[in-house]
């Protein structure tokens, strides 16, 4: 019903587009009126006048349905003390009534045990309310449908009638569309704020326990030290100081992400180049989607692969040449992660390389450049911005990955740049902290928010730096 009506809106809008355009054209040709806008715009004009109200109605009906129900059902006649109920209780009773409303009119045979159990616990007035609700739903459904069909159609016809040569539809339509487009890009900002606010309060709570400086400059990460001495004294301040040192997480993140990028950048970029420039279109058509699968394999698989196949292998090799390798190593995690993000580099770069105009290639070949020279000197520079974008996505993905790290590199924070040792990353610690059994306001849990916020601010700074640099090097080409 809900979905059907949505589909209906789209079909309706689509047909009104043609209707509006047709009307505009007939004005122009049959009545010889001068149109002040391009004919398309009259079509869009009608569409917008149909689509937006319809969508708004749709949302309205969806969101406020429960309010209407409540208004109708929760009458003080049935529930004299309804005014005194807390909203939680109100919601519960409402929920009970709507559960009941589905079953009150059913014959005995159709009732399941669960139905019987709520029937048994329902009061007389609740059952009456449920019956009311069932009736209400029926009426509401029908009235919705009519409202929903009639209003947009009516609006559509009115809008179409209102079309005249003088009506300048274009600025109206473009304004609306440009608001939509603008809005779309502002969503990114809203999401950013959303994230910021989801993190900041708990992060502040964390910093009430742990000193700012200790967090950022301590070199030991050992949340286990954060224990309560006793009820009155709270946390052992000395121990807290040593428990949350951000530095080893940062180095771990950098270490593992670098290993991953060392795998993904050359492999991905070379693959992209091969696919775009050398491979036949058949090979490209097949290989590209297959490689894209790498991005979708659940990370558990990579985790098991890294932990049970790669890590022991690295260990054996390492011990073979006399290097001390731990069974859990940043290398194993980084390698697996690198494989995972190959398609981010390969597929996206492949696309931007493909988009470089053919005439540039020809220009270079004509000078006697080899393919590889052409690629390195002409094509890659021309596609640089896009390729950088793919690196950015890849590294972002690498930083965000947790499962592989937990499984293959352990959770031990280790201040090292030796990839043969265990290491852990910021994100991994965020996840582990969040889903543990520790109570919510323990710094062990709260640190997740502080870590999240730190990471957020860090990448923000990096991005600002990046954009300032990139702006200097951006090349436009024809």
């Amino acid at each position: 019903m809900l979905y059907l009506s949505l589909v209906f809106v789209f079909i309706l809008s689509y047909s009104f587009y043609f209707y509006g355009k047709k009307r505009a054209l007939s004005l122009k040709f049959k009545k010889n009126e001068n149109l002040s806008s391009l004919p398309d715009y009259y079509g869009y004009y009608v569409v917008l006048l149909v689509f937006f109200p319809a969508i708004i109605i749709w949302f309205f009906l969806l969101i406020f349905k429960s309010n209407f129900q409540e208004m109708f059902v929760m009458s003080p006649v049935l529930f004299p003390d309804v005014a005194t109920w807390s909203s939680g209780k109100f919601g519960l009773i409402m929920n009970k009534i709507s559960n009941l409303s589905i079953i009150v009119n059913l014959p005995e045979i159709d009732l399941t045990v669960g139905d019987k159990s709520i029937l048994k616990m329902a009061s007389e007035s609740e059952i009456i309310a449920a019956k009311n609700l069932a009736n209400f739903d029926k009426i509401y459904g029908w009235s919705n449908l009519t409202l929903f069909i009639i209003l947009p159609v009516l609006l559509g016809f009115l809008a179409t009638k209102s079309i005249s040569g003088k009506l300048n539809a274009q600025p109206i339509v473009e304004k609306i569309i440009s608001y939509v487009i603008k809005g779309s890009s502002y969503i990114a900002i809203f999401i950013t704020f959303g994230i910021f606010f989801s993190l900041v309060f708990e992060a502040i709570n964390f910093f009430r326990y742990v000193n700012f400086m200790d967090f950022f400059f301590n070199t030991a990460w050992n949340p286990n030290r954060a224990f309560v001495i006793n009820a009155s004294e709270g946390f052992d301040q000395e121990a807290l100081k040593e428990a949350f040192g951000f530095v080893p997480l940062l180095t771990g993140t950098l270490l593992i992400a670098s290993v991953a990028m060392l795998v993904a950048v050359p492999l991905g970029l070379l693959t992209a180049i091969y696919l775009a420039e050398y491979a036949s279109s058949k090979v490209r058509d097949i290989a590209k989607p297959i490689i894209e699968i790498l991005a979708g394999i659940p990370t558990v698989v990579y985790g098991f692969f890294a932990a049970l196949s790669l890590a022991p292998f690295i260990k054996d090799v390492g011990e073979g040449v006399g290097l001390p390798v731990s069974a859990e190593s940043a290398l194993a995690a980084g390698l697996a992660m690198g494989v995972m993000i190959i398609p981010f580099v390969s597929s996206l770069s492949d696309d931007v390389i493909k988009a470089v105009p053919q005439s540039l290639r020809e220009g270079s070949y004509a000078i006697g450049a080899t393919k590889s020279e052409t690629i390195k000197k002409v094509i890659l520079p021309a596609a640089l911005a896009g390729i950088m974008g793919s690196f950015l996505l890849a590294i972002s993905r690498a930083i965000g990955e947790t499962m592989i790290v937990v499984m293959a590199a352990s959770l031990r924070a280790n201040l090292t740049f030796n990839p043969l040792e265990p290491a852990t990353t910021i994100t991994t610690q965020i996840v582990t902290s969040l889903i543990g059994d520790v109570e919510f306001d323990n710094p062990k849990t709260l640190v997740a928010f502080a870590l999240g916020l730190t990471l957020f601010v860090m990448t923000l700074i990096l991005n600002i730096a990046a954009i300032t640099i990139v702006k200097k090097y951006r090349e436009k080409y024809e």
């Binding site: 807390s86 909203s87 939680g88 209780k89 919601g91 519960l92 009773i93 409402m94 929920n95 009970k96 559960n99 399941t112 045990v113 669960g114 139905d115 159990s117 709520i118 616990m121 329902a122 050992n222 949340p223 286990n224 030290r225 224990f227 009820a231 121990a239 985790g303 098991f304 932990a307 049970l308 022991p312 731990s326 069974a327 859990e328 499962m403 937990v406 499984m407 352990s410 959770l411 031990r412 040792e421 265990p422 852990t424 991994t428 582990t432 902290s433 969040l434 889903i435 543990g436 059994d437 520790v438 109570e439 919510f440 306001d441 323990n442 062990k444 849990t445």
Partner: protein, 335 residues
Amino acid sequence: RDQINIVGSSTVYPYGTVNAQRLGESGFKTPTYNPIGTGGGMKAFCAGVGVEFPDITGASRPMKAKEAKLCLEAGVTNVIEVMWANDGITFSHSNEAEPFSLTREEIFTAMAAKVVVDGEVVENPYQTWNEINPSLPAYKIEVLVAPPTSGTRDAFDGKVMEAGCTLEAVTGSDDGCTDYREDGKIIEMGENDTLIVQKLVEDPERFGYFGYSYLKDNGDKLQPSTVEGVVPSAESIATYEYPMARPLFIYLKADHIGVVPGIQEFAQMMVSDEAIGDNGYLTKIGAAPMVPDLINRVRNVTDSLDAMGFDIAACAEKKHPLKDAGYAFSSGLCK
């Protein structure tokens, strides 16, 4: 909403879901269970009364006073505590290797950052088990442990590391009893027990600890060490003779009973004989039943929906009816 929503501990998850499924088979909608950890579960559970909040939370440790406070603040005043079984933490390794018989002190000595040697506190010098006790095999010391936020780790630290701690005698405080050594012998893993099992199989000299149910299902691969001479089994865990046992809980939101069908039935089923009796469906997958008087008590609770003295307001003040009852777990209640 007519479907129960359970959140909470991943330790309780296997039991809670089996029970949920049975409830579903008996004609209710099958409840859903989100394993977001005991802490996360408590937070969601205590967020308020109303259909948008969970009805039940599973916990691998008792509710803490702080959590009770949170519940109270959000108006969740009627909570029923159902302590329904016990779990044992086993210290296991591959059954390809020689069996181990350990004491808690030995485990502590193998794992702690600082230990006492000749009456002095020193950095842990031990590399192999037989250096600690010559009767043990000469395996390298390597233990896979759960992350610091895990309940299993918490329980293990409390029951083994603190109990076996030798530092106190020298330093006079229990500081550092739960500090693991940081020389790579202790490997912190995520809460992925399947992986830990596989890693243990790969390297038979490694140890790991996890819930009893994992051992049950991986009997072909793993063997538990005896601790203080006791083999972990349903009986030894139920009686707390096995020292690494802990109780498991579910908490019901009383205000939701009657609104979302099946909450009471769920709890009743969970503590019924079919579930945690000798051959019960939960017992079979690793839950260890409780001693009879506790069972009777909890069945009473679920039948009458009388919390039997558990009161969230009291809990917020660290009071609990069983706190002084002398059970091994009593001190942890409403801590």
